[in-house]
Amino acid sequence: MVSTSENKNYKVIGTRPIRHDGYDKVTGRAQYGADIKLPGMLIGAVLRSPYAHAKIKSIDTSEAEKMDGVFAVMTSKDLPRLGDVVRGNSEESGSEKHLSENVMAFDKVLYKGHVVAGVAAKDQNTAFEAVKKIKVDYEVLKPVINVDQAMAKDAPILHEDYTGDHLGKKVKNSNVAAHARHEVGDIDDGFKKSDLVVEKEVDMQTVHQGYIEPHSGTAVWDEEDRVKVWTSTQGSFSVRDSVSKVLDLDVSRVKVTPMEIGGGFGGKIPIYLEPIAAVLSKKTRRPVKAMMSRTDVFDATGPGPGGKVKVKIGIDSEGKILAAYADIRLEAGAYPEAFIEAAAKCVFSCYDVPSMKIDAYDVLVNKPSSAPYRAPASPQVAFATETVVDEICEIKGYDPIDFRLMNVAEKGTRTALGPKYRTIGLKECLEAAKNSNHWKSTLDSNPSPGKKRGRGIASGYWFNIGFKSSVNLSLNPDGKVALTEGSTDIGGSRASIAMQAAEVLGIAAEDVRPSVVDTDSIGITDVTGGSRTTYATGYAAYNAAHKLIEEIIEKAAIKWDISEDQIEYSDGIVKSKTDSELKMTLKEIADDPPGGPIVSSASVDLEEAGGGFAVHIADLEIDEETGKTDVINYTAIQDVGKAIHPSYVEGQMQGGAAQGIGWALNEEYFMNEDGVMLNSSYLDYRMPIALDLPMIDTIMVEVPSEEHPYGVRGVGEPPIVPPVPAIGNAINDALGLRLLSTPMKPSRITEALKRKK
């Protein structure tokens, strides 16, 4: 671990305690979304469109309704029809309408798998049989399934009623939901002065987050019009908001209890089945649980946008970057939002460039509505930029780390969107990469006949959001602390949050017991996403712990009848500053404190955590005959700010790298021209298995964030950004081939080798 912070004497932070929820998770006791069973519960199932683009002419549910064991059938007629919520300009227009249309189609289906009707029945089998009896009359339309098709003249239009925003102009009848631009400096001048200009366009296929737990939703709609929802989600409060909007209820009528979550990576922020289960429950007055199959998950949730990104970079004769231009076209799927602003923020984020221009297009296509996928849109743009940078180094003979260091973004560097960076640690990551054993080792480029090896390096960025979080603490009579919070725990955040409270209180991590509670039991807490949880909810825990100490001192003052400023607290002991006789442990003060139990709560609404950067090094071995690529060595280097629980930080780095490796080499939505995904199973959507990967070495660099008392930055997202270009650059190193499309699968490699000959 490389650390730039003077090593503060932390007692809890930086240690590796067993996570509090671990025991339930290794014994099978933990209850995930599909594990819930309520008395009298019915099973819900949905009918999904077989077409990627069609008008719904009519739906006949009568046969299904007549079936034995069927309790209710619903269509979008049972949902309130939300109007276009035009909030000022068109940026946000229609978002509530789209939210509800994505739950269940009203007039048109926009992707294969779009829900058109739902059923509640006594068991799964009956529900499936009933769904098959629903008859839908469609008028099938031609779909558009990539940005080129969608942006072509005379392309079929997904949303005739939608007003797009093209650089401030309102445009109807276009599949481009938005065209945004950012400009810093004068790129024409920059390119004119350049000694070398390199331009590349990459083409990324749609991918899926691939979390192992499929979505589910369970709901009870009671006689008082209160809706209780149990679901596996990254944000119980965002589910509450979304469900209340779709059902047109006040938020307080909806209570969401988060179940344990079996992976999300951004894909478990949207809602899907929850409102359907709720409406079916309203019709039956019984609990209803609906679950997705793996194929449903691929067909109708996620995906991470595919698209095309063109990047052009000019350098002077010394190797200093003078100008950079990007044209970014990303697939929003069926409804707007392809994360183009994030793409613009990330595309040149690793470099100090005096002039930049970015054109970004949010493009509607007949695919499921895109969801965030770990650093949304950053891998797509990094692939283009980092490939161009590698090509510049190749042409000019620069060492790829030295070139990056020469152009490195640092504190004070102006970013493409305009603002300057606060303290960031990219330079430290590049230096750590340069000093790593991996980079210093040599790679045998031709280990055996027919096999070639290559090494690639790339950097990447994510900006780490802040937002709202709340934490409650309560001191138990045994001197231990109960902590309640609203951030669902996908990968050890109960531990990283509890550890921050424990550090403040000077007690062991195990003595703070964290619980993730429902939306009625804690203040608003934004999603577990954007790499914000350990930062923001951890910050709230830090503040709540300080307030708890104030409470403890206040009660001790009453008990001892001395003034509060005579009292100090450290490491679980409250004592008088002057009288050494006056001293209590937490257990002693917690035993019947004057004026009631000792509790505290805190909430925050934070700015960004300070950007997170990662640098990855990949070594590949490629079989020239078959094109099979093995990752043989891999090192992930990242500025993590401050690692609260280093094991789970390493885990985020390794997991992100593994997802990125899958994205680079295998994963894609393989669609036919009708917009039907042909590989919607784990057999054919090939994610990395244990055998595909080497050990992933991690180097944690700690440049503390200015925004957090312990210097925490988000760590979940940066590690998925560098792998795709690092692997592309390694393939080029091995074979002298620039593959510009993902996935860089064996057939692409062998074809490119053939073309090269």
């Binding site: 995930y32 979550i261 885990g651 244990a690 992933i696």
Partner: protein, 161 residues
């Protein structure tokens, strides 16, 4: 309407050492039988088509994807699930190693990995990294990149010796 009514089948089986009689629909998988009929939900569903291993159980000493086995097929058999790994005296060394090595993030894949890995260590007390990766190739994990899982299995193998 007259549905073709399929009769449930009585099955006698042993789950985690406990003998039981259950009634199952003949078309229902062992996975659904465990979760819905027996009511133990530690065994997870990730795909229901034999490609993720989240539903792995041990059937008479062999590991199987319980989504690919019918409930009626387990008559007279011995099934071990994740719920059977810990004893009143404590966790199985693999469970302990998974906790210590942080080999789980979301934890949905963990029951499947534990059951698979236990079958490996039952037969091969000291597997190599290569062997562990081969053995676990049928279990998908999307969170960890497998690194810490492989290390945990290796650690448990050393400690249980």
């Amino acid at each position: 309407m007259a549905e073709n009514k399929v009769k449930k089948v009585a099955v006698n089986t042993k789950i985690n050492g406990e003998e039981m009689d259950i009634l199952v629909d003949p078309y229902v998988s062992l996975l659904e039988t465990l979760r819905e009929v027996v009511g133990i939900t530690g065994t997870k569903e990730g795909c229901n088509d034999g490609n993720c291993g989240a539903c792995t159980v041990n059937l008479d000493g062999r590991i199987v994807d319980s989504c690919l086995v019918l409930g009626v097929e387990v008559e007279g058999k011995n099934i071990e699930t994740v719920e059977g790994m810990a004893t009143p005296d404590g966790l199985h060394p693999l469970q302990q190693a998974f906790l210590e090595e942080a080999a789980l993030q979301c934890g949905i894949c963990t029951p499947g990995f534990l059951v698979s890995a236990k079958a490996l260590l039952d037969n091969e007390p000291d597997p190599s990294e290569e062997r562990i990766r081969h053995w676990l190739a049928g279990n998908l994990c999307r969170c960890t990149g497998y690194d810490k899982i492989v290390k945990a299995v290796s650690k448990a193998s050393k400690e249980s010796k």
